[in-house]
């Protein structure tokens, strides 16, 4: 097998992916068999943009997209992780050799449970004011503090942690970024119930938790920079995809948009007012896809794209609007929930879960600030606590 596909040989690459999928994937829209991700990694399809030493193919974006689209065409997961795998990308970019050796491939194979230990009761939008502390002691750090809203902490093997390492430096300059081992006595996880009724996020209490030196990414006081890398991956993933209804509906082509399917089923496609509302949402989704495509084209030309920052904000609007229009379609049926009323249950779940995107990963308001300041170059909001030693800063 070649590990390098020359530019211009798009058809050859397409044929190679197809042949591989034909030989290995059980068939269109089937469940992934056991060990599937490992196979994808081994076939060098998981991270084709990456260098060969990390099971990549050094492909450019245009070629890598071909791999992704062939996987998507048969509903096979696991490709495109060089864009979407927040954990592996952050680790590859900033991790120590020892940690990369240990975790990069297992992360691609989906063998490592992960969570984000960023938010604290007093530090949400303002992550640079974290108060969880990491103190160096010989060959490891000792971590003490409390995290909150930590999705999937209960099953995680590692958490990407930000913690204060220097209390006398200004708040952005005294933070470290770690892969904290979660399965240890110093880490206690308490589930929180969400408004959807689910319990995916948690409180995490850290009491003398131990983090080996090699699990530090970047310098001990340069965690803010590492965090920016990680946040960019997280936000771009949230801009491209969002969770569907609880029961899962999978990916669908624009032609059978789930909103139109619901409207048809409910007889709402005859109503001219609802048609307008439906059209607006379907068009918003299409526009987001077109923006994303242009953003990628810009990236290929080496220009940084303002479009990239808009994706998460656009997705948030789409999700809230889609839930609203679903409610209009269902009318009184939306009073109901539970397994006996799946259409209403989906609609109400999507209404609530839209906040996952408009609050989680940085709120819409924060996204707008970022777009205004970093993309449009508008003057920055004065930050009264930016260059003050962290000890002197006012927090909740």
């Amino acid at each position: 097998m070649t590990s390098q596909t020359p530019r211009g040989s798009q058809e050859a690459l397409r044929d190679e992916v197809r042949a591989w999928l034909h030989a290995n994937w059980p068939g269109r829209d089937r469940e992934a068999p056991h060990g599937w991700l490992a196979k994808v990694v081994e076939g060098r399809w998981a991270v084709p943009r990456w260098p060969a030493v990390w099971m990549g193919r050094d492909l450019d974006d245009e070629h890598a997209r071909i791999v992704e689209s062939e996987f998507a065409a048969v509903g096979a997961p696991g490709a495109g992780q060089d864009r979407t795998n927040l954990w592996a990308n952050t680790l590859l970019a900033r991790g120590t050799d020892a940690l990369k050796e240990k975790l990069v491939l297992p992360l691609l194979r989906g063998e490592v449970g992960m969570c984000l230990l960023y938010s604290e009761p007093g530090a949400g939008s303002d992550l640079a004011s974290v108060r969880t502390r990491a103190d160096r002691q010989g060959d490891h750090f000792r971590v003490n503090g409390q995290k909150v809203w930590t999705s999937f902490a209960a099953t995680a093997d590692y958490g990407m942690l930000i913690a204060r390492t220097d209390w006398d430096a200004p708040k952005h300059k005294g933070i470290g970024f770690f892969f904290l081992p979660m399965k240890q006595p110093g880490v206690q996880v308490r589930p929180l119930r969400q408004i959807t009724g689910e319990s995916q996020f948690n409180e995490v209490f850290l009491t003398d938790a131990v983090c080996p030196q090699e699990n530090l990414l970047g310098e001990a006081t340069d965690g803010w920079g590492v965090l920016q890398t990680a946040l960019a991956y997280e936000r771009s993933a949230m801009g491209e995809a969002a969770r569907g209804p609880r029961r899962g509906m999978g990916q669908s082509a624009p032609a059978d948009d789930p909103l139109i399917a619901l409207a048809r089923e409910a007889g709402a496609m005859e109503d001219p007012v609802l048609r307008q509302e439906i059209a607006k949402v379907v068009i918003l989704k299409r526009l987001n896809t077109l923006n994303a495509t242009r953003a990628k084209a810009d990236m290929r030309q080496g220009t940084s794209s303002s479009l990239m920052s808009l994706g998460k904000l656009a997705m948030s609007r789409i999700l809230h609007e889609e839930a609203r229009v679903r409610t209009l379609i269902l009318g009184a049926e939306s009073l109901l929930d539970g397994p006996d009323h799946p259409r209403a249950d989906d609609t109400n779940f999507l209404t609530l879960n839209a906040y996952f995107t408009s609050i989680g990963g940085g709120t819409d308001q924060i996204q707008r600030n970022i777009i205004g300041e970093r993309v449009l170059g508008l003057p920055k909001e004065p930050e009264i606590d930016r260059d003050v030693p962290f000890r002197a800063v006012r927090t909740s």
Partner: protein, 321 residues
């Protein structure tokens, strides 16, 4: 507990409150997110009985309802879910042994706890309201699982269910329309009061929650949202109170004012509760925070007795447009 007699005339042991008093009371109900069959029994059922004016039945039931010992529910096809349902009303037939009802009504509010039901059914002379005992033979109440856990809804099935016809001193449809007008004003009050409380809670939070070294309410993003929501809250309150005032005066323009209030308050409550979650951030995504309880109530209220869209259409029609 005098409030349970708010819509019951004084001669039957109630307060004899008018729409203005009921609307004011419902603003408090909305603010405190009171659960229970207040709207369905103390307002809707009591107003329907009073409007029908069957002297014997009113004298028997209304004092017990005012005292809180009797809970009633109203089963009218297309009432609770006006504009979206187009089911067929149950049918009533007179047998030698008395009246019998056949058929189904969905979305009946707080029927599960009701001791008696007021059921609108078709007869050969048109629509009439019947009294059905909660434990009547041939009555099946299936609870529906609801998104707003404080709202109880049932589907009722009548299978040769014995019933007593309530005499009416005016057209049944007119009595129903009058009672529904009062219910809609009451609901508008609940929506306005609920929205105001949620905004208060949110503004308080924005003053105390510190991020970036300052209260989040000092950010214009939050301040502007709050200002927009205040406009929603005040508009909803004005609409609800004006509808109550005109209804209590028996004004000819009450109908339009009720539709205006129903549409404005329905949308306002949803908007305010939805934005409040966003303005709180992660804390409001937790079950233990009250924000989602208000959102659930707001979403339910926006479907009851006609959606905002339905009432916008009614409003245009009332304006002759």
């Amino acid at each position: 507990m005098g409030v349970l007699g708010v819509a019951v005339p004084e001669r039957f042991g109630g307060i004899g409150g008018d729409a203005v008093l009921i609307e004011a009371l419902m603003e408090e109900v909305g603010a405190a997110l009171v659960c229970g069959p207040f709207l369905s029994s103390a307002v809707f059922a009591a107003a329907l009985l009073e409007n029908l004016g069957d002297a014997e039945i009113s004298a028997k039931l209304l004092p017990q309802m005012a005292a809180g010992s009797l809970i009633a529910a109203v089963a009218v096809q297309d009432a609770a879910a006006a504009g979206t349902q187009s089911g067929v009303a149950p049918k009533a037939r007179q047998k030698a042994s008395g009246w019998r009802i056949e058929g189904e009504v969905a979305y009946v509010i707080h029927a599960d706890a009701a001791h008696i039901l007021l059921v609108a059914a078709e007869t050969s002379e048109g629509l009439r309201v019947f009294l059905v005992e909660g434990n009547a033979h041939g009555l099946a109440r299936s609870p529906l699982s609801t998104f707003d856990k404080t709202l109880r809804l049932s589907r009722l099935r009548f299978d040769a269910t014995p019933a007593r016809r309530i005499e009416a001193r005016r057209e049944t449809t007119e009595a129903l329309a009058n009672a529904l007008d009062l219910v809609r004003v009451a609901l508008a009050g609940e929506q306005a009061g609920g929205a105001r409380r949620v905004l208060d809670i949110t503004v308080d939070y924005a003053k105390s929650r510190i991020q970036f070294g300052r209260p989040i309410g000092s950010f214009q993003a939050i301040k502007h949202m709050a200002a927009d929501l205040l406009l929603e809250v005040e508009s909803a309150t004005s609409a609800a109170r004006e509808a109550a005032r005109l209804l209590s005066m028996g004004s000819a323009s009450a109908g339009a004012a009720v539709s205006l209030a129903a549409s404005a308050c329905g949308d306002a409550f949803v908007k305010v509760t939805a934005d409040a979650i966003q303005m709180h951030g992660g804390i409001a995504f937790t079950w233990d925070h009250d924000a989602h309880l208000y959102l659930r109530r707001a979403r339910a209220d926006a479907q009851l007795f006609g959606t905002p869209a339905f009432h916008r259409e009614q409003y245009l029609r009332a304006m002759g447009a």
